[in-house]
């Protein structure tokens, strides 16, 4: 609510707190009392802010930092989930064996390919959708809400429906393909089809979300830029290329970073895509992502030490991705 100057108190001046009372010499007791109050006030002023921010840091210590450190500690041991307190020191063994662990590298490759086939089309589609929604449309709020609906759906529900759609023998997609003369595709057991199917769940879920972010950024582009571009005879497409895209650069960078981090952690979609094979990500691990492999080692096979080493390796990979993103974005900013 706006402050109304006619009712608000005027700013306090020196000694303005107790007008009317004559300044009397304070007694000694009163002086002590005042000093104590003042000390308390000082302390209060000094420490209260820390108390106010402490909840976050306490929670972070308990649920962020401690697990991180503990995972690091566990990754240097051989430890099973059936007896988490019974640790045997193995040094870097859990890390060194990751280098010749075919399953880890297979999972890393899958994470990369699934990440690419889900993120790239997703962001392109989101951009297109945002551009369309940015026009004056009837019922635009409806479209905006509808775009966010997939994001609000739980991964589990969405994945289970997609599993039915992508079924080999009775799935709707193969049924539709058969009308255009394409043979049944085994979406779960073949490498590329399965990765594509998993990606499609990710795309379905996140496109609307990214589109709304783009839309918000587009709305902040000054209208006069378009008007002057139109006066210069630029077509809609030229306007998009030369006005919208450059203005969206920071937003695009943001969505790329967020999507990359999201893609490196893809877990629920592949886990539920073949519920029976669960964490192994298909008969030949053809869509096992790093997240799934971590889960398989830790929770299915109960090797906490190995799983911790995988978690830390993933963490380091994410840091590398972050640095690369930072460097690229600095270059881009410098060039613009």
């Amino acid at each position: 609510m706006a402050t109304r100057h006619d009712t608000a108190a005027p700013p306090v001046k020196e000694g303005g707190a107790a007008p009317g009372r004559p300044p009397a010499e304070p007694t000694e007791a009163e002086q002590r009392h005042r000093a104590r109050l003042s000390r308390r006030w000082q302390r209060d002023k000094r420490w209260s802010p820390y108390a106010f921010v402490s909840p976050f840091f306490l929670l972070f210590l308990a649920f962020g930092l401690f697990p991180l450190v503990y995972t690091g500690w566990a990754s240097l041991h051989q430890v099973e989930m059936t007896a988490p307190t019974d640790m045997t020191w193995v040094g870097m063994r859990n890390y060194t064996r990751i280098f010749d662990d075919d399953f880890f590298w297979n999972a890393a490759k899958n994470t990369l390919t699934i990440g690419i086939i889900s993120t790239v089309p997703q962001l392109l589609m989101a951009m297109g959708l945002a551009h369309i929604l940015n026009y004056k449309l009837r019922a635009s709020t409806f479209y905006r809400v509808a775009m966010l609906a997939p994001y609000a759906t739980s991964i589990a529900a969405a994945s289970l429906v997609f599993v039915l759609l992508f079924g080999r023998d009775y799935g709707m997609i193969n049924w539709a393909l058969h009308f255009v003369g394409i043979d049944a595709i085994d979406w779960q057991n073949d490498k590329w089809p399965s990765q594509f199917a998993v990606s499609s769940i990710v795309i379905w879920r996140w496109t609307g979300y990214n589109a709304l972010i783009y839309l918000a950024a587009m709305q902040a582009i000054p209208q006069d830029l378009y008007e002057s571009a139109a006066l210069d005879g630029a077509s809609r497409w030229k306007q998009f290329l030369h006005v919208t895209l450059p203005s969206l650069r920071p937003t695009i960078l943001f969505t790329v970073v967020v999507s990359t981090i999201g893609a490196s952690q893809v877990f629920g979609e592949p886990l539920l895509f073949d519920a029976n094979k669960g964490a192994s990500g298909g008969a030949e691990h053809q869509f096992q992502t790093l997240g799934l492999y971590l889960y398989e080692q830790g929770w299915v096979n109960q090797h906490l030490g190995r799983a911790s080493a995988i978690a830390w390796t993933m963490f380091l990979i994410l840091i590398v991705i972050g640095i690369v993103n930072y460097v690229i974005s600095r270059r881009l900013r410098a060039s613009s």
């Binding site: 399953f103 080999r168 587009m218 192994s280």
Partner: protein, 455 residues
């Protein structure tokens, strides 16, 4: 873009809705708070009852919670209602996870942290060895509970749930003596006998004969049908009839060197190569649909599988199924119920599962749900000998399964049986249906399993 031109109208309109928004938020907070309070009230009611302060006057009932997986059928067989009637101050609530592959990791996690456990936890036979070996200290010793009589159970079932020093952590529920269910109409169309005795003779004593029967079936089979449902089902059936499969009796892992395992793998791969089994994974939606569409002629069939078939098949298929003895008897499945020490109502839970696993209740469970009793005294009871299933018409399924139960080998089970089994089926034989050679499939399977076993 449009809103930028009219900032004032925007502000005013949002100011107008602020009041309603506040009301909505307030309402939400109130509702949540009320919910939380209600939750607390329920809890304290429970605790009061567990202290024995309940007089059974309808208020403050003790709720015994069960953590189960799959369809164990206690509720469906009406056993909870019956117990609640016998004990008016007890209420029973179950919490079911569909697949044991998801249930078991959570159970281990809860056991090691000693939190989040139900009053009763079910343990699958594939995991019992690991739980007995590593988590026994977290469970009550059921052999010391009054009313529990060791001689009620089959010896091997009792000893599976008991540690070396004699602590029994779980009471046996059902077992899975395995037979073969087959479709009489499909067998007839393929020119095979349909009588259960004659069908059993086709493959008696040898799984190789079973596969040759499949070859015979395929020659004249109804179009679009398969001899068996899935490679996983076949290898599982063959392996379950072996005395030693993945571990030897001293506890060593022998799955790679055990000729019986390799033979089972190769035989299944052969059947898959010849197109005798369908490229399905059991208990998946597509497999369910395959049952409903009557696409396969046989399925390895422990008694509980009849319940599954009944649940998935179309009503008009009633009576078209029958049960014949398997080439060699085996055991597939079966569970245990244990009481974690950290449960809220340990005494009540012990009394409850003692009752629930007593022979009379096991017999009732079989009659309604098809879970075969692990209490041999029931095998002569009318509930077992006279049991019928809608899908198999008048067939005396109880007698067939009792026979299988008596002749099944006492199998050595090991702590990582489930991981090995899953590697062989889901990362192994299924690949043959995808056009891989048996050798490639074996390679993938063993590589996966070794990686999973490596600590």
């Amino acid at each position: 873009m449009r809103a930028r031109t009219l900032p004032h109208t925007r502000l005013r309109s949002s100011g107008g809705t602020r009041m309603t928004r506040r009301v909505v938020v307030l309402a939400a907070v109130t509702a949540l708070g009320a919910g939380l309070l209600a939750g607390c009230a329920d809890d304290s009611g429970d605790d009061g009852a567990s202290d024995g302060s309940s007089s059974g006057g309808g208020k403050g009932k003790t709720t015994i919670t069960l953590g189960l997986f799959g369809t164990m059928g206690f509720k469906e067989a009406g056993l909870y209602t019956e117990y609640e009637k016998l004990h008016p101050d007890i209420k029973i609530a179950e919490n079911v996870t569909e697949r044991n592959e998801n249930y078991y990791p959570a159970l281990v996690n809860h056991l090691t942290t000693n939190s989040g456990l139900m009053d009763v936890q079910a343990i699958e036979v594939g995991n019992i060895a690991e739980v007995v070996a590593t988590q026994a200290s977290k469970f009550e010793d059921m052999s010391k509970v009054s009313g529990v009589d060791k001689s009620n159970w089959l010896d091997w079932k009792w000893s599976q749930g008991t540690t070396k020093d004699g602590q029994t952590i779980g009471l046996g529920t059902d077992i899975g003596p395995m037979a073969l269910c087959y479709r009489k109409d499909l067998f007839q169309a393929a020119g095979l006998p349909t009588d259960r005795e004659a069908v059993g003779k086709l493959w008696a004593g040898d799984w190789n004969k079973f596969v040759s029967t499949g070859e015979q079936y395929k020659k004249k089979a109804k179009a679009g049908t398969f001899f068996m449902d899935s490679p996983g089902g076949l290898i599982n059936a063959i392996l379950s009839s072996e005395k030693e499969k993945f571990y030897d009796s001293s506890g060593e892992i022998i799955y790679k060197s055990n000729p019986a395992v390799k033979a089972a793998f190769d035989l299944t791969a052969k059947a898959a190569e010849e197109g005798l089994v369908q490229a399905q994974t059991q208990f998946q939606p597509a497999w369910d649909t395959t049952i409903a569409n009557s696409k396969f002629a046989t399925i390895a069939c422990p008694p509980w599988m009849l319940g599954t078939i009944k649940g998935k098949a179309k009503a008009e298929d009633a009576g078209k199924w029958d049960v014949a003895v398997a080439p060699k008897s085996g055991n597939w499945g079966g569970s245990f119920l244990g009481v974690p020490k950290s449960g809220k109502h340990v005494k009540e839970a012990e009394a409850f599962i003692t009752w629930l696993t007593a022979p009379e209740q096991q017999a009732k469970l079989f009659k309604v749900q098809g879970s075969f009793p692990s209490a041999p005294s029931t095998y002569t009871m009318a509930e077992v000998t006279g049991a019928k299933n809608d899908m198999t018409g008048d067939s005396p399924i109880g007698t067939v399964f009792s026979e299988a139960a008596k002749t099944a080998p006492v199998q050595v089970i090991g702590p990582k049986d489930q991981i090995i089994q899953q590697g062989l089926t889901d990362n192994g034989v299924i690949l043959v249906t995808k056009g891989k050679s048996a050798a490639e499939a074996w390679n993938t399977a063993t590589k996966t399993i070794d990686n999973n076993l490596d600590k």
